[in-house]
């Protein structure tokens, strides 16, 4: 089987080369038949790479330890789901997985070629070029079907224990779908630039593809955070690790694009900016992959150091040079149709939003690479950890929250300060009253610590955003309810259906503020560590932990030991929790299984950290993490909001919108749209 796997990979490469070359010739010679063969070759790439991926998974399920990758990432006792997850658990397999996802995106793109045959033909050629790069990697630099030299061992080394969790079965595919998904908008954007695509259709197509990639990336980031929280056992969900940062970089630029693209659609502005945002998002996705696989920066999540780094450097350089070449050659095509007229306008709010997102992306990139730069300049390596990233990014995030609150209140082109004041006054008063109430009730004391101050600001700004978004929904809902003689909730439902993008976007913003409220809870975090023998007690916040017993178990894949802890609150037992420690036999590594009791107010998070080597008494570490539940709730809002924004608008009888669901605001009329027609 490994030989067949190797052959399918080579076949995939050959087909990709054909799809690229034939597609290119077809464009140059304007040959439709040749173009069709290139398209079909692109579809066949999917079949070849699917077969290769299937064969690797088959090898994992059949314990074929003659394949080095399976030997190093699986073992006989590994449960089936993790054998499947072994596909993306190592360097070679994850690159193959990348190829496969790219082939899936390529398949969808090529099957939907009728959306614009010529544009798709260009995009397909670019996508084939990217596919060739990744297939070269898996064929020649990180071969997943490499065979073991010498005698084949009877059992494998097993999967890293930290990866043996249900979240790890879904987190990497989501993240990869996000990373790889950014290739498609890149292909469309570059194609539109190369062919000087007339009109704005390409930007509608690109925006939708970007939203799909962004959605997966967002889910991947949140699932990664959830995995870190539930599995790593340090009580946090984001450690500003280089690998985490790598996923944040394209997310930030992608978010910036999803906002500024509205200026291009509505006003024909920011074309150069948007083009480069898409290019940057793709380049950063590749750069992130390079960071995690080259060993340039050290990370707890990184793959084993390998020699594939230079391949990525060449690919990045070539991609950047290609983008720059076509930009310089065709930049006249990207001239803005209108100029920004006022600082108090929807356009300027998007502009400042973009600036903040890009400064944040720069700060993250800068902090991630600074250790390398410092070593290069001074000869000494330094650590750039959470304190740096928090200090730099929290103020930016607060500014962004403020813009999120103000943005919906601004009209396109210009808004009078009087109008802004009128719309902003009530939400601002609500936010200030809420903040004062929190201080008066003693929940937040911003004068005690800087983190409390930031928390208070976050909560107040979140309330401000919620109030402005709420007023948008209620105002629009009331207008429709009045006309339809229905209630305001039905009105809001119809409002959302009629402008899914705008109101879906607002729901995403609601998700962001719910998540931010969760982040604000960090300031009130408590922890405690104690040796707990039978009957011993430990207090943390309002909880008392009483150790009832310890017990052990043995399974084919691991042996384990549990603590059985009764949890009391206000003198009453509320639950029993079981923090666990495992010892994985194949890899010989220990791991902890966190016991977590999550409520809307706080998480009681217990870790069985081990035994005191001096007296053998078990040690329990307890964390009280306020508001964590809100982070995951916010993620759900973001997911739902993005899906709503992707759904086409419900057409009203009165007016039909332009393709893409949005009508460009004409230059010669006041551009604030009627409530029911929306506009972003």
């Amino acid at each position: 089987m490994p030989q067949i796997g190797s052959f399918t990979l080579l076949l995939g490469l050959a087909l990709s080369v054909y799809a690229f070359a034939a597609g290119l010739f077809a464009i140059v010679r304007d040959d439709d038949r040749l173009s069709e063969t290139a398209r079909r070759a692109g579809i066949a790439v999917f079949l070849a790479v699917t077969a290769a991926s299937g064969i690797l998974v088959y090898a994992a399920f059949h314990n074929d330890f003659s394949v080095a990758y399976i030997l190093h990432h699986s073992n006989r006792a590994l449960p089936g789901a993790y054998k499947f997850a072994a596909l993306w658990s190592g360097q070679e397999g994850s690159l193959l997985f990348w190829c496969w996802l790219l082939a899936i995106y390529g398949l969808v793109l090529r099957l939907r070629h009728r959306v614009d045959t010529r544009l798709v033909a260009y995009a397909s050629v670019i996508l084939s070029a990217v596919q060739i790069f990744f297939l070269i990697l898996v064929n020649f630099a990180a071969h997943p079907f490499a065979l073991v030299t010498g005698a084949v061992p009877a059992d494998g080394n097993g999967l890293n224990p930290l990866l043996q969790y249900p979240e790890m079965v879904i987190h990497p595919p989501m993240l990869y779908l996000g990373y790889v998904g950014m290739t498609v908008p890149f292909c469309f954007a570059l194609a539109a630039l190369i062919m000087k695509y007339p009109g704005e259709k390409w930007i509608h197509i690109t925006r939708r593809w970007t939203m799909v990639g962004w959605l997966f990336l967002t889910c991947g980031i949140f699932l990664g955070s959830y995995w870190a929280y539930r599995v790593l056992g340090w009580g946090g969900w984001w450690g500003w690790d280089p690998v985490e940062n790598a996923s944040l970089l394209p997310w930030l630029t992608g978010t910036a694009f999803l906002h500024s693209v509205m200026m291009q659609e509505k006003r024909g502005m920011m074309k150069v900016w948007n083009m480069w945002l898409i290019f940057s998002t793709f380049l950063l996705a590749i750069f992130g992959t390079f960071l995690t696989r080259s060993g340039v920066v050290s990370s707890v999540h990184a793959f084993a150091e390998s020699d594939i780094g230079p391949y990525f450097v060449y690919f990045l350089a070539l991609t950047f040079a290609t983008c720059m070449f076509f930009y310089v050659r065709n930049r006249s095509h990207l001239e803005s149709e209108h100029k920004l007229e006022s600082l108090i306008s929807r356009e300027s709010s998007f502009l400042f939003n973009n600036v903040l997102l890009l400064v944040s992306a720069f700060a993250v990139l800068w902090g991630t690479l600074f250790p390398v730069l410092s070593e290069w300049v001074t000869g000494h390596k330094v650590t750039v950890g959470p304190p740096f990233f928090n200090k730099v990014n929290i103020p930016i995030a607060l500014f962004l929250l403020l813009l999120t609150a103000v943005g919906p209140l601004l009209a396109w082109r210009k808004t009078s300060t009087e109008s802004l004041r009128k719309n902003f006054l009530i939400p601002a008063v609500i936010a200030v009253v809420f903040g004062v109430a929190l201080m008066a009730m003693g929940y937040v004391k911003p004068w005690v610590d800087m983190s409390y101050f930031y928390s208070l600001m976050t909560i107040m700004l979140s309330v401000l955003v919620a109030a402005t978004i709420g007023s948008e929904f209620i105002r629009g809902g009331l207008v429709i309810a009045r006309h339809n003689d229905s209630n305001v909730f039905h009105g809001m439902y119809l409002l959302t259906r009629r402008n899914t993008r705008r109101y879906g976007g607002y729901i995403v913003h609601l998700g962001v503020i719910v998540t931010m409220i969760g982040f604000a809870g960090v300031a009130f975090y408590q922890n405690s560590e104690q040796e707990l023998g039978f009957g011993d007690k430990m207090a943390i916040g309002p909880y008392t932990l009483v150790c009832r017993s310890y017990t052990q178990d043995d399974k084919p894949n691991y042996s384990s030991e549990w603590a059985i802890l009764d949890i009391y609150k206000g003198g009453k037992q509320i639950t029993t929790m079981y923090p666990e420690q495992r010892f994985y036999k194949a890899s010989g590594q220990p791991a902890t299984i966190v016991a977590n009791r999550s409520t809307i107010m706080e998480d009681l998070y217990l870790v069985y950290t081990g035994k005191n080597p001096e007296n053998g008494r078990p040690i329990i570490k307890a964390h009280l993490n306020p508001l964590v539940w809100w982070i995951w709730a916010g993620a759900h809002f973001i997911l739902v909001g993005t899906i709503i924004a992707l759904v086409p608008n419900m057409q009203t009888k009165r007016k039909k919108l332009a393709p893409g669901g949005q009508a460009r605001a004409p230059a010669d009329i006041p551009a604030e749209s009627p409530v029911e027609a929306g506009g972003d």
Binding site: L232, G233, W234, G235, G236, G239, D241, S298, V300, K339, E341, L343, S348, V355, L358, V359, F362, W366, G367, F370, S374, V377, T378, H380, K381, V382, T383, V384, G385, P386, P387, F388, V392, I396, R413, K414, T415, S416, T417, E418, P446, W447, V448, D449, M450, F453, V479, R482, N484, N527, T609, P613, T652, A667, D668, I669, P670, E672, P674, V675
Partner: protein, 165 residues
């Protein structure tokens, strides 16, 4: 009347800014011993190879983080200042034990650059917008008619009412 209102707004804004700065100033210094341990522990990296902040090392039964925490508690009990404690750790484990760059020497660049980029980007946006406004008088009947923005808001309000479903 208008001038007086403007003055009140300016004073209110100044007062708000001053309160925020005072809060921030006060916030940065305070905190008890527990918070001090937490703050210091987050300024140091565990040296066991986990690549995590000292108080967040998740290695099962990690003896290195345990030892480092003991050293920190001991130094705090001795009455050492934060600087002395951190310098002691740097002396023993090297500069990578600090979880963030210091504000001395080349490390200053780490802190300065994001601020420089932030200010430069904001400044550039303001300049570009101003330049656009000066070079291109806004087109279309919106402004060629010379209506002030307040009047436009009124038109928009009416348009909303009249075009509502």
């Amino acid at each position: 009347m208008k001038i007086a209102r403007k003055m009140i707004h300016r004073w209110a804004a100044a007062l708000l800014l001053a309160s925020a700065l005072l809060l921030m100033g006060a916030a940065s210094d305070a905190g008890g011993q527990g918070q001090r341990f937490d703050r210091l522990g987050h300024n140091l990296m565990c040296q066991c190879g986990c690549g995590q902040v000292l108080l967040e090392c998740n290695h099962v039964g990690c003896s290195t983080s345990e030892q480092m925490r003991k050293e920190m508690k001991l130094a705090m009990a001795r009455g050492d200042s934060d600087q002395v404690i951190l310098a002691g750790f740097v002396g023993k484990y090297g500069p990578t034990v600090l979880s963030a760059p210091t504000t001395t020497g080349f490390n200053r660049v780490a802190w300065i650059m994001p601020v420089v980029i932030f200010v430069a980007a904001l400044g550039a946006v303001m300049l570009v917008v101003r330049a656009w406004k000066k070079r291109n008088p806004p087109s279309g009947p919106t402004n060629s008619g010379g209506q002030p923005p307040e009047e436009l808001d009124e038109f928009r309000r009416r348009a909303r009412e009249e075009t509502a479903l």
